[in-house]
Amino acid sequence: MILLLILLMPFITGLLLLLVRNAATVKLVALISAILNLLISLTLVYTVSATGYSVTWINSLGINFALGYDGISLVMILLTNLLFPFIVLAGFKRDQRQVPVLYALILFTQSALIGVFLAQNAFLFYVFWELTLIPLYFILLLWGGEHRRKITFKFFIYTLTGSLFLLFGIIFLYHLTPGLHTTDFSAFSQLNIPASTQVWLFWVLFIAFAIKMPVFPFHTWLPSTYTMAPTQGVMILAGVMTKMGIYGALRFLFPIIPLGVLFWQNTVIVLSLIGVIYASVIAFRQTNLKKLIAFSSMAHISLMVAAMFVLNYYSLQGLLFQVLSHGVIIVALFYMVTLIEEKSGTLELHQMGGIKLQAPNLAILFLIVVLGSIALPLTAGFVGEFLILAGLFKQSIWFAVFGGMTMILGAIYMLYVYQQVMLGEKRAEFKNMVDMRRMDYLFLIPLVLIILGLGIYPQPIFNMVEASVNTMRNLLLPFAGTLPTL
């Protein structure tokens, strides 16, 4: 029952918000709803046995409306419900058009995202997967920046193409299930699919997630979409939706097509490591702050994808930890990008500089978040990336070397950003710049505390995901030595 509650509460609140006129009330109600959702989902962490919720939906097609969770989906739900109060908060004390519609769309997205993570059968997963896209499409189309029509369209079609391949894969698996067909994940994982089928089925299923995360070379929608998106849109995209791709890959690939995973493992790892280096190098060459952060996000996600496919204990632990840590850090980063843009009136790095002298508190918090992104020890970023690198190293030293480049290159471009934005001479244009307001502190301090807190004491997260990581690892052990031959 509690699962149904956290699923539906944002949706119903969103519907109600459409009827409210007052912008301030809308924002406040949305925030309260998001915080309540967070508190309720925190109780899930401490319940002893996982609860589920299942109701027959379409009997003829073997579809139940079944919700449930395990360690991995718990991390994802926590991430979503942790970030959305901040995403809602990012709009406070700012002028926005058509506020009720905007916040309704944001809450609809939250509902759909929770649905993706709670779905226990592939059909429901697919429905919610598509549903996350629709409100986001409208958020980008109506509140986005320049060229939003073209860019949103490209993003939409690109993502949907991947999703439709996923649909094909789901139906294919559906008809392989014995007896009365069903799309339950548990039924799928019991299928014995011949190795030759698994080889092509891998890409059919993976392409949707490869586009969503994104993995090189399916990333071309990312820079323009992130740069054009409104603040709250890009926070949803970078903070949560990329993790949705990771979750989908974990749910669909490992239990169902283990041989396919093993066959393509090295290819995907190489692609993602290429993505890490590629994104990092391009990030360094950017002059637009938002685009730079977008590429840095892609670099970190690519490292996480490599971790996912390396398939050992450290890397999976690191991956799930990094899901939380990257989400928090990237939301904080994009908020600061918005702050800097509001204060300095520009996003171009050449035109910034010396902001530290005008807004020292902003500089301090910015530094902490930047250090988190670089993965300095004692920040959450370090814990995740270190574990991932340890896992990569166990597989092959070269993977670790190239993966480690993300830390080095990350340090290069992030410190470069800090230097360009904050340090340097006082600029005449910025002489009227004010430091952060109370609202900004309210936003950033909790995030910074989480970054530092998780960096110092990451154990609770590890406890949460322990069981799932072990299960995931054990799924592939029987096949570990046997690569499929065509």
Partner: protein, 457 residues
């Protein structure tokens, strides 16, 4: 049978009521008559009456499709109340002709004899030829009517020629007997029989506008008065596919190899041409015409992959597709009025600003046509894919999926226009009745997606 009699009488009644100067009573009488027809149709469920020495069979299949078509016609008539307020003359004739066309449609769903199918197609088509030319002073409308008449007559001629050849080979018009006759050849049919069957299929394929027999459809859809286009795109398609299904099931299955190949080629071409050409359309009615060709491709895919389980999928697909199409045409009419008759997609600009709720429901309807969850259009496509993938036709399913992506592209082109800002030249007036019905259809489309129904026929 009562449905056929009732609609015929209703049509004649409306014709005579046209003598009375008061236009306002026409729509209520028509709708009331259709509701009575609906009642009688539902009453006949499960009875399986046969008439005229078994030439006409009202089994559950035909009753289900009849009910679907009556409901769509009622919706069209309710929308027509506002539409025909603007029209000066011949309103009664328009209603009557649509009712007569509906009668033909009923015959098309319940035939078991080729002559009955021919009668049904003709009774459906001839009123439509006249209706397509409804705007007497519009060049496009005259062109549409003439084109439809010429091409439709050619198609009917092929159809009749096919029937003649089949009769020459098998000495019967009665479908079950033709089936037995075909079965004895074990797939190697004599040329006359094969050619005859092919011509019959071509005749029916023309009616449902599958490629390569679709060329009439964009011009006719564009030229005809929009309410008539709505009728053509929905009721005629439904009747056509019901008759196609029946033709295959009662007479032609198992399909001889050449015919099966021909049908698969038609499916693939419809999916390809319908979607690809729709991408380039600037006129909304042409876009919907090409997209309806694409939808025909999907329905054929369902029918050919697993014939036996596809009846309820076809019923569901055609019904939810019709439910989404009709309000779209109506919104287009209203938006066109506000932009001085401008036919292009850009006429939709500014809709969200002026009437946000209508814009939202229009988006929902377009999402249903595009096949995005949780709408019923998605569930319809999902069921089609389940049929085709389970039957092992993987390549064409992947192709259909790719074409569905193209579909999403052009449907969301329209959505984008809806949410673009622009001022209208004239005020955008949507009557309360129209708005209410659009919202009802939109809600129905979503509800049917969540509560998928499956009628065993």
């Amino acid at each position: 049978m009562s449905t056929i009699i009732l609609t015929t009488i209703l049509g004649i009644l409306i014709l005579y009521l046209g003598f009375i100067k008061n236009k306002a009573i026409l729509a209520p009488v028509a709708i009331a008559g259709l509701l009575i027809t609906l009642f009688f149709a539902v009453n006949g469920w499960g009875s399986g009456y046969v008439y005229f020495h078994k030439m006409v069979i009202f089994d559950n299949f035909s009753i289900a499709f009849n009910i679907s078509m009556i409901i769509i016609t009622i919706i069209i008539f309710i929308f027509g109340i506002d539409y025909y307020k603007m029209m000066e003359m011949h309103v009664a004739e328009q209603y009557a002709l649509m009712l007569f066309a509906l009668t033909g449609a009923f015959l098309m769903t319940s035939f078991s004899n080729l002559i009955m199918l021919f009668l049904g197609i003709e009774i459906l088509s001839i009123p439509l030829y006249i209706l397509a030319g409804g705007k007497k002073f519009s060049f496009k409308s005259n062109e549409a009517s003439f084109k439809y008449f010429m091409l439709g007559s050619f198609a009917t001629a092929f159809f009749l020629f096919g029937i003649a050849l089949v009769y020459g080979a098998s000495a019967t018009f009665y479908l079950p007997e033709i089936k037995i006759y075909i079965a004895q050849f074990n797939g190697h049919l004599p040329p006359m029989l094969l050619l005859g069957l092919l011509f019959i299929l071509i005749g029916v394929a023309f009616k449902v506008a599958v490629a390569p027999f679709h060329f009439w459809s964009p011009d006719v859809y564009e030229g005809a008065p929009t309410l008539v286009t709505a009728f053509m795109a929905t009721v005629v398609k439904t009747a056509g596919f019901a008759s196609f299904y029946r033709l295959l099931g009662m007479g032609l299955l198992p399909l001889p190899m050449p015919l099966e190949k021909a049908l698969w080629v038609m499916t693939g071409l419809s999916l390809l041409i319908g979607n690809i050409v729709a991408m380039k359309q600037g006129s909304f009615k042409r876009l919907l015409a090409y997209s309806s060709i694409a939808h025909s491709g999907f329905i054929m895919l369902a029918m050919l992959s697993q014939y036996d389980s596809s009846a309820s999928v076809i019923l569901y697909y055609t019904f939810v597709y019709s439910l989404a199409m009709v309000p779209l045409f109506i919104i287009f009419i209203l938006v066109k009025r506000a932009s001085n008759g401008h036919d292009h997609l850009s006429a939709f600009q500014g809709l969200f600003k002026k009437k946000p709720w209508i814009a939202v429901f229009m988006t929902i309807l377009l999402m249903s046509l595009a096949g995005i969850p949780p709408t019923s259009g998605f569930m319809a496509k999902y069921q089609v894919f389940i049929l085709s993938i389970s039957a092992g036709y993987l390549a064409i399913s992947v192709f259909a999926i790719l074409m569905a992506v193209v579909g999403i592209y052009y449907y969301f082109n329209v959505v984008r226009e809806v949410f673009t800002e622009r001022d209208h030249l004239k005020p955008l007036i949507i009557s309360k009745l129209n708005a209410a019905l659009i919202i009802v259809c939109g809600v129905a489309v979503v509800l049917m997606g969540i509560f998928v129904w499956n009628i065993p026929i």
